[in-house]
């Protein structure tokens, strides 16, 4: 199998990889770049656990070869919310509402919700459900995930891009979350 040198722009950092041409973006991100937040779920583009943002659009990393991703801006959950920084308000809402159980689908859910909010900041419950149709969850039954996203949509989003700020997310539930964190 032919190999190619690829430059990938991931979460604002450039990675240079020497990989087989048939290596999926999923495997390149998970195994070569070392991002555990991009996960194998089905390799057929249905389940959404490997969702990443390619130039801002939710994309199944299993349906793209890594070589095709060159020249595009790739964002994973760790790019949306740096694990060394305070949690993103949407992540806090997931904690507060129990939007994660086994957690395997969670990064994909968060990225899909973020992309929806950017396109349609006032999305209602039905629109949230419609948007999540490409992200399967087998644990929660979706209700708590939709609750979390809906609550976040209704929050004041002024603080989203400024870690450290508190505001609408500091409800009683979020306090409990902080205690657990």
């Amino acid at each position: 199998m032919m190999r190619t040198q690829v430059r990938l722009q991931v979460n604002g950092v450039e990675h240079e990889l020497w990989i087989r041409n048939d290596r999926t973006l999923l495997n390149a991100l998970h195994d070569d770049v070392g991002l555990p937040d991009v996960r194998y779920g089905c390799n057929e583009g249905v389940c959404g656990t490997c969702t990443v943002l390619v130039d801002g659009a939710p994309t199944s990393a299993c349906l793209m070869y890594a070589v095709q991703a060159e020249g595009h801006e790739i964002t994973t959950l760790h790019g949306m919310a740096d694990p060394t920084q305070e949690m993103h308000p949407l992540q806090k809402r997931f904690l507060e509402h129990g939007g994660a159980q086994c957690g395997f689908c969670t990064p994909g859910m968060l990225l899909t919700a973020k992309a929806l909010a950017e396109r349609k900041p006032d999305a209602n419950r039905e629109e949230i459900r419609y948007e999540l149709v490409g992200n399967l969850c087998r644990c929660t039954g979706y209700t708590a995930i939709v609750d979390a996203i809906e609550a976040w949509m209704k929050d004041d989003h002024a603080e989203d891009e400024s870690p450290g700020a508190t505001g609408a997310a500091s409800s009683a539930g979020a306090d409990a979350v902080e205690a657990g964190a």
């Binding site: 389940c47 994973t76 959950l77 969670t106 644990c139 979350v177």
Partner: protein, 786 residues
Amino acid sequence: MTDVTQEQATPVADRPVVGESFNVVGTSPGHHDFVDKVRGTLMYAADWKLPGMLFGKVVRSEMASARIVSIDVSAARELDGVVAVLTAEDVPYNAIVEHASGGLGELTVPQPVLAADRVRYVGEPVAVIAAVDQETADEAADLVHVEYEPLPGVFSPAESLAEGAPLVHEAGNVLVNWRLERGEVDKAFSEADVVVEEVYQTQHVEHAYLETEAGVGWIENDVVTLRVSTQVIEHAVEIAEILGLPANRVRVIAAYMGGGFGGKEDTTVEPYLALLVWRTRKPVQMVWSRQESIMASTKRHPFTMSYRTAAAKDGRILGMECDIIGDAGAYPCLSARVLFAGAALSTGPYKVPSLRARSRAVFTNNVPTSAFRGFGAMQVVLGYESQIDAVADALGMDRREIRDLNYVEKGDAVTSGEPITTAVAVAETREKALARLGPPNPPSGPGKVVGQGFGNSMQPYGRTIWFRDHASAWVTLQSDGTLLIRSGVTDLGAGQAASLCQIAAEILGVPLDDISVYIGDTALNPPAGGTFATRQLYMSGNAILRASRKLRDQLAPVAAALIGTEPDDLEWRAGTVSRRTGQGELTLADVARAAQDAAVDTSVLYTWRAPAGRFDPDVGQGGTFPDYTFGTHAAEVEVDVETGAVRLTKYAACHDVGRSINPMRVRGQIQGGAMQGIGYALSEECVMVDGNPTSTLFANYLIPSSMDAPDIMVDIVESGEGRGPLGARGIGEPPIGPPAAALASAIENAIGRRPTTLPFTPERVLALLDQRGGDDLSHAEEAQER
């Protein structure tokens, strides 16, 4: 929808819990595991990488029933980058050992790790490969040439039970034949005013955890170490047997799972990883593809359930006959126990004075079936709920009234003759679920009919009591006042580890932030016995409760002496110990250091043993399960009379959980279990044609998406009576039971015919509509429009 919002707006954490007041139990903190999950930092089984790590691949049978003539691995071995290709002759002890049902009469049939001379299902492993990367391993798998000679196969229990049927195993095609009998069944039927009779059919279903079977193995300290996605680390013993090693030379570490639902209760990747690691002496990773996971992992048993129910005209059930045949697939796995649960729970939460129940697990050349949330006790819910509805209809009685007359109560005998020892609040869960569901919506347009229905269920928690179950937990107070918990528990994502922290925090007054919990390691943690059978809150919850109390009792005299009071005058709260009046406050660090000075242990290892008992398979009576969880789900559907499509429009679920340790997690279990049951009821089926799976993609094995169901509205009942810690009952499995029954009832309410074969696809519903005939239907539609 308004109801939902209000329900969600009520902080679950603030709900009062029964009895004594608690500080931590009954609240819903965001535990360590949740934080890692939403941050995307949790290291699952596939997120583990070691220097020089190889990648494994299982070569699987493409035939359902065949003799292996030869296996040619030469081309695979010669491929660049391939390090090992192993077949049956490379396996020191070629049998996956299952200590199935405890020796109560089932056949003993070994399942090979790698098929040697014969394959019995499509997907059965025949060889295993290690290579320098996954792509090479996959390529090598295609180069293994197996020559098969096809043999006749059996692809349903009916074919398998037919006279002269080909044998799946020489020992016979019936793995086990359970019988439970009590009362005078023939007399009950001869005296009955009404007898209803029906056959119910369920299907093969896939667990469909988002994380496929995965793990990494390596050798450390000359010990084969496997870090895998498993519900049961105790399989280390069986893996050692396969390798021909002493039990102390295999260590299994359980990563937090990306879902399990019973599908990671049997071994999955472990034997194959272990063989490759042992042969290559190198680290190896194995991740099953989604396709092989759906094709070859164990499934839920299709049940054929033939029910007969006898009732008096006042509505009392007099007797029941139930015959269950389960498709075990090609190997035993846990089929004997699943079929036992089916027979034992065949009457559900109803008094049935005379019962004759029989259940058989039958071998076929289909994929093996085994544990799946609900474990045999969930398939029968469609049976017993449909039967009691049918009796009510035959007598012209209300469906609630007939249940109120027949519900079991505390002290009543269950099918095996033993009494129920805790409260039965099923009438309360039913009323709550129905109230939450509310009045029916009008149809959304012409050609649509609306119906409502409900279903109750009774699901055991804890292992059958003849296993003499036990679990250990180890708590250690560090000199700085922080706490370590060590437990062999594995975590499915339901908060198995987190609930242990919450209970310990409650008893010892250690803030949750100051607790670290180490789980799932056969080398470093005391055994907790696997996460299945809704047993961990019951078993490890009781163990941690007692370990924490014992540690508190051990430290109390030290603290009391420092404060100058009596040990029973102490309050343990928020990292401090003080007199109940609040005076003389010490930190836990003060207490820990004082204990060390006084040579008092700051650590307790506690083993909790569940009450044990015996079951007599010849008499069909005896001890079965420790206790049960009851609940009710209520559903509203809209059926399209042109297409037969069923749209679920409202759904409410309520269970009695005894005591809610973490209300948010309880609600999450109920919502998720309900949704998995809704998929089972409406869309999920592993279709096989002569043993060949035809739905091995998420594109054609349809688990519910966010668009397929409405919000799951939840109410929690806390009767205060359960056998778990602080009166809790298990809630992991119970919510998957009622959905199919609730939906069958709702569909019947909408179209006047009750579906009896799962899943309730548009084709099947349309066939029922055709049976009923056009005239009746337009009448029903008109009635609803009015």
